[in-house]
Amino acid sequence: MIYNPFKLLLPALLPSWNFFDVIAPSPRIEFALLHSENDTSTQWQEFRPRPAQLPLSKMLSRMFWNPRWNETLYVISCAERIMENTSQNNLYSHSENEILNRIMNDIVCNKMLTENHKAQDNPTTHLQFRLLVIQRKGLELIQEVVFQSRITPLSVCTLPMGDDT
């Protein structure tokens, strides 16, 4: 389902402003590189892990230039949309495509494919991602897989985003 932009505009005109009213389960995105569309994922990598530290100078410069983090926040909101609509396939396909495209750009543009991945006899050709959700249950944090995307071929990238951790 594709939403009408006027319907999407309504929450801006009549906002709820209930920021952080509850701390919702938090999604994490992991992806796997596969050798065929029938391959089974075994090695999952975290999508855009946050840096161990971020110096104050970098925090301040991000006031003016913060494209990668803002894109990561958008990808997280896509993951949340999928989590809200996992029972209705037609509602999450847009978000699934958005996440796949952005992972693919990171992989191909940032040259994350190693020589091992490109090996002639068994090259990496496909991509899949999964969503893990982290939530509090009592005093413990529980982590579980809630969604696995379709497997899609790795295509040629046209997005020179560059690395900006």
Binding site: F20, F64, P67, W69, N70, E98
Partner: protein, 229 residues
């Protein structure tokens, strides 16, 4: 601040915020560049004051196209505030009388007050916020902290308890800042510092720029209330 100055300052700040947001998409997908390069040009025209009414209308059309492209806001609340300000400015420019113009701009000021008050109200109702657990969860496992080092803050419960109540109380008493110009200026400085901190800790830079864009509406609104009363 008088009505015309507040409108003009809001237009300039909105132009800056839109330009800053748009430029971040210049190295993105081709279909995003197609939307954000014209938006950047229109933002520059808005700052320059060139045919402002029509520039605002074109910005609204592009904003609808962006909503359609991303099937919702790209960055949640900051995009929603951007759209709210843009719609209110459009109404100001196309409203037939001064009274309607003031109502449109006053609506923006009212929403700005509500943005703080309702945020505080939903927090104070939640026991997890009252005991500091909610903010600990934000640092411990939410997607927002910009570095792993910041997650260590979740191990300082007293600090987060104090921070939680500071935020809740500030948001709840924000409407009372309208009682005088001095208190309003102080409240807006504190609010801007709050958004600045969020930008540093959680990478929410767009919230900072777009929320301060709405501040001139409140500075005008406060004087308008005094004039009426």
């Amino acid at each position: 601040m008088n009505f015309d100055d507040a409108i003009r300052l809001t237009e300039i700040l909105l132009g800056f915020a839109f330009a800053q947001q748009s430029i971040e998409h210049f190295s993105s997908f081709a279909n995003e560049r197609l939307l954000f390069i014209p938006r950047w040009i229109l933002a520059a025209l808005l700052i320059a004051g060139f045919h402002t009414s029509w520039v605002l209308l074109l910005l609204l059309i592009i904003s609808l196209a962006i909503l359609y492209r991303f099937q919702g806001p790209y960055n949640g609340g900051s995009d929603r505030m951007s759209l709210l300000i843009l719609c209110c400015l459009c109404l100001v420019h196309f409203a037939p009388t001064l009274r309607w113009q003031e109502m449109a701009f006053g609506y923006l000021a009212l929403q700005l007050i509500l943005s703080y008050f309702i945020s505080g109200w939903v927090k104070v109702k939640n026991p997890q916020w009252r005991n500091g657990r909610a903010l600990r969860d934000v640092f411990q496992f939410s997607a927002y902290p910009v570095s792993e080092q910041l997650r260590e803050w979740s191990k300082a419960p007293w600090l987060l308890f104090v921070m939680s109540w500071s935020v809740i109380l500030f948001e709840l008493i924000f409407p009372f800042a309208l009682l005088s110009s001095t208190s309003l200026y102080i409240a807006l400085v504190i609010a801007a510092l709050f958004h600045f901190t969020n930008a540093c800790l959680f990478g929410l830079n767009r919230f900072f720029w777009i929320w301060i864009t709405a501040y001139p509406s409140l500075l005008w609104f406060q004087l308008r209330i005094i004039a009426v009363s």
